[in-house]
């Protein structure tokens, strides 16, 4: 019997691109896009209704989100309590998300109950009643929750940074404030709903195991010209603020950690650098074994977590580095982040490390497609930004062929320390 050799890793086999289920696309009679992706082993259907009703379209911060929540608080013949009762009764889960140009109203439910909840959601979108009482309750709650969040240094830092990155008045930099929440009125919400909850630029995603009946019902509910479309909306462009110094430091009395945020503009979704930068950023700070994590957490123990996120957009994407660190050592951390950037720029990634990251990323892609009603979460933002749902195939192909030289070249364009704006809250 051979003795077990525990020092040797078992053989690793190659990792293929997983099968991405087909995203069937139809155009409805009102011009809306309907996407259907079948998959999974459980009788659940998920529906995501994407309206061109995001915060960039509103005149005030908070109105888009308020509208997306308030539509659920009253429809003709049903008040807030009755609506909640019905949705809960069928075991449906509903949530909403407002970001950039879009608001997405999502729900999932056992497919057998979809036709019971859909008419309610249809009316929420088409003819909500916006009861003043519910708006008052919502705004009070938002105010309290904002006050609590702003007591958290890491939230305060992210909030403040978003505002400071962009010129005054630019929608990308608009954040919620107490004054702003107090100024939101029912008229704001009604007007916003009227203008934006239309079939114009509407995209609907159905995923899971929808029956044909479910698909037909969704088509019936949202496929007609149920109201006039507004004037066409020109997508907002980011206008960046000039900073006099690279770094801003804000004191937060009582903070037990220093919050570090660093930011630089990233290439647009359709730029040739966008996909390979994904890989370079992963090595730099995009996974647990990254340069940043290895140095600042695993070697020095200065943080519980540090990462670099590549936010991919049609326009206005960015590279964001964040960490909450030992409060007296933030300057060391900033210096080490710069050191790691320069390492990416001046040293070729070693063969072993490159192979490891390639396999890790391939495995990650495989995990993303484990189940359709979860993988749709990754696909919707890309499609709303104008990208292809098969983007991960392009990423996989790039993973296969990218070289250490190309990564170094990219790093010299995107990981230059002086290019990053830095905010420290301590």
């Amino acid at each position: 019997m051979t003795t077990l050799d525990r020092s040797k890793q078992p053989e690793i086999l190659g990792i293929e691109m997983p099968n991405i289920p087909l995203l069937e696309h139809t155009t409805l009679s009102n011009g809306a896009d309907l996407y259907v992706m079948h998959g999974g082993t459980q009788p659940i259907t998920r529906v995501d209704i994407c309206l061109n009703a995001g915060p960039h379209r509103a005149k005030k911060a908070g109105v888009a989100h308020a509208t997306s929540v308030m539509i659920g608080e009253g429809i003709p013949g049903m008040n807030s309590e009755q609506i909640a009762e019905k949705i809960d009764f069928y075991g449906a889960q509903m949530w909403q998300r407002s970001t950039g140009a879009y608001t997405v109203i999502s729900f999932f439910v056992l497919d057998k109950f979809l036709c019971d909840v859909l008419p309610i959601i249809e009316q929420m979108i088409k003819c909500p009643t916006f009861p003043q009482k519910e708006i008052d309750i919502y705004l009070k709650k938002e105010l309290q929750q904002l006050r609590i969040k702003l007591k958290k240094p890491s939230f305060f830092a992210a909030h403040t940074f978003t505002n400071l990155l962009y010129e005054e008045g630019c929608v990308y930099g608009r954040v919620s404030t107490e004054e702003n929440i107090k100024s939101i009125t029912r008229d704001d919400i009604v007007a916003f709903h009227k203008e934006t909850y239309t079939p114009q630029s509407l995209k609907i995603f159905i995923s899971g195991q929808p029956s044909q009946r479910s698909i037909d019902e969704v088509t019936r509910a949202f496929g007609s010209q149920w109201c006039d479309n507004a004037d066409s909306f020109t997508r907002a462009m980011p206008v960046y603020r000039q900073w006099e110094t690279q770094t801003k430091i804000i004191d937060f009395p009582g903070a037990m950690q220093a919050s570090i945020h660093m930011d630089k503009v990233s290439p647009n979704l359709d730029h040739p650098d966008s996909i390979p930068l994904n890989i370079a950023n992963t090595i730099f700070g995009g996974y647990f074994g990254s340069r940043l994590m290895s140095n600042i957490r695993e070697e020095k123990g200065l943080t519980y977590g540090i990462g670099s996120t590549l936010i991919v957009r049609n326009n206005g994407g960015h590279i964001r580095i964040t960490s909450e660190v030992e409060p007296t050592k933030y300057d060391i951390v900033v210096k080490e982040i710069a050191n790691e950037m320069n390492r990416m720029r001046n040293e070729l990634v070693g063969e072993d490390e490159l192979l490891m990251v390639k396999n890790y990323m391939k495995g990650s892609i495989m995990s993303k497609y484990e189940t359709v009603i979860v993988s749709i979460d990754n696909l919707i933002p890309i499609i709303l930004e104008g990208g292809s749902y098969r983007r991960d195939c392009e990423i996989y192909n790039m993973i296969e062929k990218i070289t250490a030289e190309e990564i170094m070249e990219l790093s010299n364009r995107y990981f230059i320390p002086e290019d990053y704006k830095i905010l420290i809250v301590k």
Binding site: L4, R6, S7, Q9, P10, E11, I12, L13, I15, P18, G40, T41, Q42, I44, S80, E81, A84, E85, I87, D88, F89, Y90, G91, Q93, V109, L110, F113, E134, I137, K140, Q144, R147, I148, K151, K152, S154, G254, M256, Q257, Y287, F288, G289, E298, K300, G301, L302, T303, Y304, E324, L355, M356, V357, N359, Y360, G363, M366, S367, E370, I373, V374
Partner: protein
């Protein structure tokens, strides 16, 4: 129905395999029956610190993460009061890497002085991030020590204080590892595109020679609470928070299932009794929740609510008590019971979607004594009667003394 096969190695390791050919992945979940309940009062936070150290290298494998990443895998873990749970997701063809890694760290975790020193720093930053640099960060510290006076549940999983983490001697950490990280104290679950017989053979190959036995000390049990308890604190937060805590039985008991349904009626979904009344109909709170801890030793029923400005603790408490009494006296309506059934069915279906969830649940149910609870639990829920709901809520939340915490804001708007 989640099908699985079960096999026990000679050294006591329980191995469970759930085959799911719809996925190209495999998940390996190793659950150790050790949590903060196994700690000594002078060295709290140790189970969680050791969880961090489990990633710092074993005698044959210096670097845990890189070989896994090279195999296309990802991993994570969590520690709670009762268990420490590790899970690896990997393309199914590279399953054996997971066995190599998990078996080596069960058998011979290195625990070098250097790695201990670094991870102490990391865990202290985690403590800061979760408990000291956030509003309401000490809520768990206060509520646990109010409800429990003897049982180790009286301190939170992260530990009582950063000094416990900073000062714990290395030998104490190593001894804790030896006592608890043994095959007879562990459950290994593999779920995904795998062949059960091949997995059992792989388990024998990699874990079969681990000749260690656990040595779990007896845990002091909490005496019955006979008096009401009250604590008021003031903190630099913008809103008052009310907590009402009651004792209940453990996860093995029928009481667990009855109270799970009862607390769902009280606070699962916007239409639930507490949420509807306190945040919508008669707004007194921005949010309210009522849940059960589900511990392996007798646990808690927790009511937690953030008060709106101008609302007194007395008034808020009175409304909560009124709703509890209503449920105890009148029980649930037929509609509510059907709603709970529908929601339970939805939960069951959702629980069968992701491999990591299935693997974790199988391991957890096995740790309770029977992996098949993953299937039969739902039948237990369906047998709970309205009479049982009334009696149990009455017994635990009216006839028994509560622990009340008033977490007061010092900066009210």
């Amino acid at each position: 129905m989640i099908e699985f096969q079960r096999h026990v190695l000679k050294n006591g390791l329980r191995v469970i395999v759930h085959q799911d050919t719809s996925s190209p992945l495999a998940v390996v979940n190793v659950l150790y029956k050790v949590g903060s309940r196994n700690e000594d009062p002078e060295h709290t936070g140790l189970a969680h610190l050791l969880e961090h150290l489990m990633f710092e290298g074993s005698d044959h494998i210096e670097d845990f993460d890189s070989p896994l990443q090279a195999a296309g895998g990802e991993n994570n873990a969590f520690t709670d009061e009762d268990i420490t749970n590790y899970y690896i997701t990997v393309p199914a063809q590279n399953l054996e890497t997971a066995f190599w890694l998990e078996s080596d760290r069960m058998k011979c975790l290195t625990l070098s002085d250097e790695s201990i020193s670094v991870q102490k720093g990391v865990v202290i930053e985690e403590f800061n991030q979760r408990c000291r640099n956030v509003p309401y960060g000490d809520m768990a510290h206060l509520s646990h020590s109010l409800a429990y006076k003897v049982h180790p549940y009286r301190w939170p999983v992260i530990g009582l204080d950063v000094s416990h983490i900073a000062d714990v001697p290395n030998e104490v950490i190593r001894a804790f590892y030896e006592k608890h990280y043994a095959p007879d104290n562990a459950i290994l679950v593999v779920a995904g595109n795998v062949d059960p017989q091949r997995v059992f053979a792989m388990a024998e190959k990699w874990f079969g020679d681990i000749d260690k036995h656990s040595n779990v000390a007896i845990i002091p049990q909490e005496p019955v609470q006979t008096e009401s308890r009250f604590l008021e604190v003031t903190r630099d937060v913008p809103s008052d928070v009310l907590k009402m805590i009651y004792h209940m039985s453990d996860h093995h008991s029928r009481e667990y299932y009855i109270m799970d349904i009862a607390t769902d009626i009280l606070s699962d979904g916007t239409s639930s009794r507490l949420i509807n009344r306190l945040t919508k109909k008669q707004p007194m709170m921005t949010d309210v929740d009522c849940g059960i801890s589900g511990n392996v030793d007798p646990g808690l029923v927790n009511v937690h609510g953030t008060l709106l400005p101008g609302i007194s603790f007395t008034d808020a408490e009175a409304v909560v008590r009124e709703e509890i009494e209503k449920l105890a006296n009148e029980g649930a309506t037929e509609y509510e019971l059907q709603k709970v059934k529908n929601r339970t069915e939805a939960t069951r279906v959702c629980g069968a979607i992701m491999l990591t969830v299935k693997a974790r649940e199988l391991a957890f149910m096995e740790s309770l004594g029977d992996a098949n609870l993953i299937n039969t639990e739902f039948d237990i829920y369906n047998t709970v009667t309205n009479q049982e709901i009334k009696e149990t809520v009455g017994k635990l939340m009216i006839d028994s003394p509560a622990s009340i915490l008033h977490y007061k804001a010092n900066t009210k708007a």
